[in-house]
Amino acid sequence: MTSMHDTSRTPNIKVPIYLDYQATTPVDPRVLDAMMPFFTNQFGNPHSRSHKFGWDAEEAVEVARGQVAHIINADPKEVVFTSGATESNNLAIKGVARFYKDRRNHIVTVLTEHKCVLDSCRHLEQEGFKVTYLPVKQNGLVDLDLLRETVTDKTVLVSIMAVNNEIGVIQPLAEIGAICRAKGAFFHCDAAQGVGKIPIDVEAMKIDLMSISGHKIYAPKGIGALFVRRKPRVRLEPLFSGGGQERGFRSGTLAPALCVGIGTACAIAEKEMGADNERIRKLADRFYQGIMARTPEVFLNGDREQRIPGNLNLSFAYVEGESMLMGIKELAVSSGSACTSASLEPSYVLRALGVEEAMAHTSIRIGLGRFTTEAEVDYAVQTINERVGKLRELSPLWEMAQEGIDIKSIEWAAH
């Protein structure tokens, strides 16, 4: 890979620099090591009951199940392996709604949820369920009073994420859990961006169902999990039927290598979360301050305090979003969630925060993680500062703003 930039100032930097840890994370080499035996001689089908290949595979799966359970303070029996968080979210939301449809038919979720949560809910609307999509406050957090008013004795499920994938804000899970429990509604939490980043305790937070993703926590893609509470018992209709694996919630041959991957990743995260977060917080602060010190008119989206350290969602006023991304090609960042990144629509998450369309268009999600270095941060900061400066020099809007013209007051000629 060659760079347009002069890299002599930072000789040890390899571009592109990966700063998109909310889209996906690299597999931790320790996770890969733990998986390797399952790509060679330990190849058994964990559901084979008649020989050692099967038993070994099953044992590995169960160890992994325990590791996943442990990081969220659940019982291993409450962990269902899936192909990823999208499947977990679909299974939790549709599964619970369909199972209890004769008793309750109302679902509550939030406008800033991941697309697969919103799409699952929309699909349920077509099946006759009522769905309330709650707005968020300007800082991206749920208004608890509003939630309390919205959840009724007809509400079967409240689905609210732990950490937002675009802006990194942490929702008040324990408070949400208490509200749900008081009304007898199940609380589903999409914790794809939360597990391993913030401490999560399904008991203390009264979470009934929780989605976990492997590839957001340094495990491979293709594996996730769904926590399904046993006491009080949560029941659900499966998305697919078959051999009855995973307590009947999720049929299909489990992939031991992948299960071991997510299990190992959880064990590492549980042990290293504190140190990881401290290091990443320092890097994020350095990043943020580095930008703010040199470039004016930059805004951090989402709450300043209630956020994970590894996310900075910044809006750069008077810069066109696409040219911005083109201008910093050696940085792998995104303009929003990966799932919707091919679309040119501004982020619906930022719109829900009340960010103006023009500003939403110029925002960049910077995701820092376990393997981000200080040198990479410095390089990225310098690149962004330089490029934003150049792009603004070319921007008539910036020029007008410098002259004190209020851009919003301009009436553009129709054409």
């Binding site: 996906t24 078959g242 051999g243 031991p256 990966a338």
Partner: protein
């Protein structure tokens, strides 16, 4: 220790091929989310699309017809819910993921019987198709996972088409063992599983004929042409692609495996005349041998074989620990006792004559012991 066991349970899962494992690990090292537009995302996308082409080639399909899933079970569930079908017509010997998925839908569900050899009864299929109001789906597997018996999918598809029904074929056990061509079969949808053909576990595909719109089971980011949301399992898909290339070659070498299996069966019959080989009289996969030894429960047989260092199975691996007589053998007219005293031996690329000999020695020894105790007997009670 595991390496010293003769593994003869390829229909449960095949050991991953070296090239496939390498592709998995390499894709993991590359990283990236294929939906991301930056270079890292584009690299991941390239891996997925290359594998899509490889898998398509394996079954004579177009790349855009391949929907990657988490495995055969998901693909089968996707197929059976592809449209709001009014009637689902499936063979009685389908895999649990077809039978259970069919039962879970609101559709009217018909299980078509098979004959004594385990072959679909086409007359019964035609009767089930008669007078149906659409949409209707016929789902017939290409090769049975327990007996290896090949099914008349082409003929079934012809009948289905005459009645305006769509056709799904679960080809999970067939690909990599016999040549499979989706167009020739006349199937609208085809299920594949990577780990049955030397790819990794946790990935499969539903091949959907161009022009047929499948309603998704899983909603979200619009991946897989909007038919299966969720970040693609890039390493798994890479491994699937690598295994698909090898599987194409493997079919050409199937004669070697067939010879090994046929030799094994000759020896079984010579040494244990009371043994019964299910589906012996009809075309089967070259690698599968399902043997009945009436009077000796399957569990006893597989345990004895395990102690002798031979890994086989008592039927499908999926039934989460519950021991029950095989629905496949029951559908072939086996008595509960006969169905519960059969085992499946399935061979694969790495199987050797030493493996089959080891099996024979152990199994014949088992027969001799059982015979001494008078528990083994000729399968007179075959018909229920």
């Amino acid at each position: 220790m595991a390496a010293t066991i003769a593994y003869l349970d390829y229909n449960a899962t095949a050991p991953i091929r070296e090239a496939a494992a390498r592709a998995v690990v390499e894709a993991m090292e590359v990283g990236g989310n294929p939906s991301s537009v930056h270079a890292s995302g584009r690299r991941a996308r390239k891996i997925v699309e290359a594998a899509r082409g490889q898998v398509a080639t394996l079954v004579g399909a177009k790349p855009m017809e391949v929907i990657f899933t988490s495995g055969g079970t998901e693909a089968n569930n996707l197929a059976l819910n592809a449209l709001p079908f009014r009637r689902l017509i499936v063979s009685a010997i389908e895999h649990d993921s077809i039978l259970a998925a069919a039962a879970a839908t609101d559709a009217d569900f018909v299980a078509v019987p098979v004959d004594r050899d385990g072959v679909l009864d086409l007359a019964a299929l035609e009767a089930a198709l008669a007078g149906c109001e659409g949409p209707v789906l016929v789902s017939v597997m290409l090769a049975n996972n327990e007996t290896g018996v090949l099914q008349p999918v082409r003929e079934a598809a012809g009948l289905a088409r005459e009645h305006g029904a769509l056709v799904h074929c679960d080809a999970t056990q067939a690909v990599g063992r016999i040549a499979v061509d989706m167009v020739e079969l006349g199937a609208d949808m085809l299920t594949l599983s990577a780990h049955k053909l030397g790819g990794p576990q946790g990935v499969g595909a539903l091949i959907v004929r161009e022009g047929l719109d499948v309603q998704p089971r899983q909603h979200g980011g619009g991946q897989e042409f909007g038919r299966r949301a969720g970040t693609e399992n890039v390493p798994g898909i890479a491994g699937f692609g690598a295994a698909a290339i090898i599987a194409l070659d493997e079919v050409a070498r199937a004669g070697k495996i067939a010879a090994l299996r046929d030799g094994l069966e000759r020896q079984i019959k010579r040494s244990v005349p009371a043994a019964l080989i299910w589906g012996e009289a009809v075309p089967r996969l070259p690698n599968t041998c399902c043997i009945g030894l009436a009077g000796v429960p399957s569990e006893t047989q597989v345990m004895a074989l395990d102690l002798a260092g031979v890994a086989v199975s008592a039927g499908a691996a999926c039934s989460s620990g519950k021991v029950r007589p095989s629905h496949v053998l029951r559908a072939m007219g086996a008595s509960p006792d006969a169905a519960a005293s059969s085992i499946r031996v399935s061979l694969g690329a790495a199987s050797t004559a030493a493996d089959t000999e080891r099996f024979l020695t152990a199994w014949i020894g088992l027969y001799a012991r059982a015979n001494r105790h008078g528990s083994a007997h000729a399968p007179a009670a075959r018909r229920a």
